[in-house]
């Protein structure tokens, strides 16, 4: 679908690493170029036309994000530099004064580093306990496995909607309902799902949500922190400076701005936010449901075809996202990835930044194909053709 909007594919590149980052359509690139060439100005500052236009565009994207995730108010949308900064705000700006020594939080070992390391650091400081929910046999995470770990000390459940390493889609609506019933805050990492399926913060009773623009056709260096208004109000800003203060005096008194600006210190990534807006428009035009349906059809095609390749072992064929993990016989994943690169096919090799998973899965070094709507059956045919020539894998090693 829509390949004509992606100039990068004109030279035969086959890009199957969409869980790492997605390609950018010309509409997104043009929106950024337009800001830099037609109306560069700072936001929330000037009384002149182009500055007002920047405000309109920048705040317009906040509305678009609000609509996209079904937030109640655009005040609940904070622009960050990506999921990692969003998580650090949630964990060090809110949880650092919310959690107490005897509390427990529930995570899973399938999470990305950005949803594990900050918790580990804070847990060392405050002494609360991190409890890891068990994964099912297919490495997915069920409501039941969360339920099993909930105690009267549980204060937070923090998980990805879709994991980057396994690609399993978590039943966030059910898990959110469970958290809500038990007075537990529900933190969701939507980085891998936001550009692929509907995310609804109301339906899933989500307290805080994080995602990055670059995995949903947008530019790098920009992301979103969503929080319920009453929770965001309680975040103690991690950054202070321009754009976030209302007034300050030499007496030491100061007053901060209201949400959302209080949590957006300094000049933000205006071009990035505008690019994110164009990406949301682009995704809405195709329709997230259409994207998900197409990806699933393509994934089925990939699974059927890859099974015809001798020595292929699949790890997650049952999961409901466009991510497929495999190994080719005893070949090391990186050797397979470099072999495919000779044919301009980009896949990811390694443990996909989910380093704790090696405590759960014996084989963590895998090849990962992650699909998006612009991938085609013809590209999959080419991948299969190269994998069938696996005896040539070391022909170009020197």
């Amino acid at each position: 679908m829509n390949r004509e909007d992606f100039e990068i594919f004109n030279d035969g590149l086959i890009y199957f690493d969409n869980a790492a980052t997605t390609q950018k359509p010309k509409q997104v690139v043009n929106s950024i170029v337009e800001y830099y060439t037609k109306y560069t100005a700072n936001a929330h500052r000037g009384d002149y036309d182009i500055s007002l236009k920047v405000d309109e565009k920048y705040e317009g994207v906040r509305e678009k994000v609000k609509e996209l995730i079904n937030a109640k108010s655009s005040k609940e949308i904070i622009f960050t530099k990506g999921s990692t900064e969003s998580f650090n705000n949630i964990i060090f700006g809110f949880m650092s004064h919310y959690l107490k020594r005897d509390d427990e939080i529930i995570l899973s070992k399938g999470e990305h580093a950005s949803n594990l390391l900050p918790w580990m650091v804070l847990s060392k400081q405050l002494g609360f306990k991190i409890v890891y929910a068990d994964l099912e046999d297919d490495y997915s995470l069920s409501v039941q496995k969360i339920k099993e770990k909930i105690t009267d000390k549980t204060k937070v459940v923090s998980i990805a909607h879709v994991t980057n390493a396994i690609g399993d889609v978590r039943p966030v609506n059910e898990i959110g309902k469970l958290c809500n019933e038990n007075n537990i805050l529900f933190v969701v990492d939507a980085t891998q799902s936001i550009g692929h399926m509907k995310v609804d913060v109301e339906d899933a009773f989500i307290s805080f949500l994080a995602f990055s623009a670059h995995k949903m056709l947008g530019p790098t260096g920009v992301g979103v922190l969503y929080g319920k208004e009453e929770l965001l109000e309680r975040i103690i800003p991690l950054e202070y400076g321009g754009g976030m203060n209302a007034m300050f005096y030499s007496s030491g008194e100061y007053e901060l701005k209201e949400l959302p600006h209080r949590l957006e210190a300094g000049t933000r990534n205006i071009a990035g936010v505008i690019g994110l807006g164009a990406a949301i428009d682009y995704l809405n035009n195709i329709g997230l449901d259409n994207i998900h349906k197409y990806e699933m059809k393509l994934k089925k095609y990939l699974i059927d075809k890859i099974k015809t390749v001798p020595n292929v072992k699949l790890y997650n064929e049952s999961i409901d996202s466009g991510i497929l993990l495999f190994n080719l016989g005893e070949y090391f994943s990186q050797d397979v990835a470099i072999f495919l690169n000779n044919y301009k096919i980009c896949i990811r090799a390694g443990n996909h930044c989910a380093k704790m998973l090696q405590e759960v899965i014996d084989k963590t070094n895998t090849c990962r194909v992650s699909l998006y709507f612009y991938n085609t059956k013809e590209e999959i045919d080419k991948l299969i053709e190269v994998l069938l020539n696996q005896d040539k894998i070391f022909d170009t090693i020197v």
Partner: protein, 139 residues
């Protein structure tokens, strides 16, 4: 050296690596070395007695270049003095990073003299030597 011959030696050391497997012996100082791109992961263990590498072994999960290079490196460094080892490591590093080096002292390690053409492989080739450097530095 002929490319086919180089490939053959690399693959032989990958498929049948020498000095693989770490002994449970405290006299071997061990250092783990990882590729930041989340892939290669090897540990090198060396027994150094009065300035000489009496034995050196490795273990881990790594690609063809890293595994074979670990094998060839252990063969090259076993029995060498620390000073000799340092010279070999320095020249190998120079070769991989396209700086002037003395190929005469690298012996079989010269099979990696074209790794620089594949930038993503450079780190794989340097990983085992990085581990040895750390072991020597800690001595």
């Amino acid at each position: 050296m002929d490319a086919n011959l180089k490939r053959e030696i690399i693959l032989d050391n990958y498929q049948n690596p020498q000095n693989k497997g770490l002994p449970k012996d405290d006299s071997y100082k061990q250092v783990n070395s990882r590729n930041e791109s989340c892939v290669d992961n090897i540990t090198v263990g060396a027994k150094i007695v009065t300035g000489k590498i009496e034995d050196i072994k490795f273990d881990g999960d790594a690609c063809a270049i890293c595994t074979s290079c670990s094998s060839v490196m252990t063969k090259a460094l076993k029995g060498k003095t620390v000073e000799e080892a340092e010279i070999i490591i320095d020249n190998f590093d120079r070769m991989i990073n396209e700086k002037p080096y003395n190929e005469d002292i690298l012996g079989e390690l010269n099979i990696y003299n074209e790794v620089y053409k594949q930038p993503s492989r450079k780190k794989c080739a340097l990983l085992p030597m990085d581990a040895v450097k750390k072991i020597i530095d800690e001595e």
